[in-house]
Amino acid sequence: MTHKERAVAALTRQIPDHVPTFELEFQLAEEMFGKPLFPPELELGHLERLSELERSRLICEMAEYTAYVYTQLEYSIIPLMMVGDAEYWEKQGKLPPEFIQYARWVREFTNGEVLLAHHGDGTYAIPDGNDMYAFAYRIADDPEGVCAEAQDMANRAIERNKRLHEAGIDVLLLCSDYCYNSGPFLSPAMFRQFIQPYLYQIIRAGKADGQYTIKHTDGNIMPILDQLVECEPHALHSLDPMAGVDIREVKRLVGDRVCLCGNVHCAAMQTGTEAEVIASAEYCLTYGKPGGGYIFCTSNVPFKGMPPERYQLILDVWKRMRDYT
């Protein structure tokens, strides 16, 4: 099987030759492969000063390096970073041309044998700081207005995801966080009113275009697990063990309706013992893998500061236990 076939099998809850892997982001490229995925020359402020030829060359090199890193890691889904002005969509209603170029090159360098992914959510996430007060008050004082804004956000996300589809993005990573460790920010009833219908629309539109959808949220999702699954994403991501989410239980409850990704304990990877890290990875494979519909990954991302050897440790467990045959 190619990486793509393997990922598609897992996302559609079939049994591939072995469990695929990927991460929402990989922040250890410099530590493990010698340089960061994103070259500083392509950051905004520098990018504009480059000639078209220089820009194209750097994007091509970045794409080649992206393909190299993820091929070495054996990822079946490659999360593409935004290249160019991230606000371009808001300003021009188009994706940045640099991103389109980058996606095309990565596809060429991977021979079309992996799925390409990018962020595509457009639902309310947990608001920060003082925004949280304003949001809560609006929910109480102007629920219709909140719903109208949610619809507008969903419409814009759907339009943007269509452009991503045209640019060759196969997988939408829907990354609005909804939950704390203790539970959802919104009550289940509020979630059903202010988020769920719009999440469903975004997922349905992506699927209509042939895209795969992975819904990510940190935290304890159990009080809204049924609502997330009702939105019919291909996969649920994170399954945050720091928030008490247990892949064994989630698999039992909804494993016949949605692919599961994650649950390898990120905090243990940072501060736990090697034995704890190995135990977490083994647990996930033991209870996530049976019957297909499982993608191996951490419960967050291999973040900057995580010891690279700890990430390598879970990849070693994955290689040892991943085969279905």
Binding site: D128, G129, S187
Partner: protein, 209 residues
């Protein structure tokens, strides 16, 4: 009127109604402290307990707190006039290097809901700022919040700064946040760890009583 109605309306987040009812209670001659305790604080206590049990969620807490603040605003001149004291004085902040304030804000709301006076130092607060505020404002408790494993160590610096300033025996230090636990609290020599905002408020009241 029944002061319990203030509590009920506060729990529902009906700010205007709470304000009206508090004024009505004043007009009917209820003592300010009674209105505060049996109406406003009772409502926030119920909300805090329900929040702890996942029966209400953050927006409902914030909306209830807004209702309480409106009721307190009406009541405040009378409370001052009657010489009603707060149940304790606390300074609270998210530790240096950490900009996350959701948890800290929730604890603040719950503390106020228990009738405590809270000095909010915001985020990214240096250990010396916690300690100096506690000295200047005569706080009985310093509350430290952190979300990151990389910043939780600053809580230890707060404890050390309090020791260095010679106020460790006069002030209790409470800690909370996603990465910390009782073992960490014991390790750094803080006084109290709580896992959630409502428990933090209960613990603070116990420390001040």
């Amino acid at each position: 009127m029944d002061l319990h109605e203030i509590s009920v309306q506060l729990q529902a987040g009906k700010a205007k109604m709470v304000k009206t009812l508090v004024q009505q209670a004043i007009d009917e001659g209820f003592p300010a402290q009674e209105i505060l305790e049996q109406g406003l604080l009772d409502g926030m206590n119920v909300i805090g307990e329900k929040f702890k049990n996942n029966e209400v969620f953050v927006p409902e807490v914030l909306i209830a707190a807004r209702a309480m603040n409106q009721g307190v605003a009406v009541l405040k001149p009378l409370l001052v006039e009657a010489g009603v004291q707060s149940t304790g004085k606390v300074c609270i902040g998210t530790v240096q290097g950490d900009l996350h304030d959701i948890g800290k804000n929730l604890v603040k709301l719950m503390l106020e809901g228990k009738g405590m006076e809270v000095i909010d130092l915001g985020t990214d607060v240096a250990p010396e700022t916690f300690v100096q505020t506690a000295i200047d404002q005569n706080c009985q408790i310093i509350c430290c919040s952190a979300l990151l494993t990389t910043t939780m160590g600053v809580m230890s610096d707060v404890v050390k700064a309090a020791e260095a300033a010679g106020i460790r025996d006069k002030v209790k230090i409470m800690i909370g946040g996603a990465p910390v636990n009782q073992a960490f609290c014991d390790q750094i020599g803080a006084d109290v760890y709580t896992a959630d905002a409502a428990s933090a408020a209960e613990a603070a009241v116990a420390l001040c009583s």
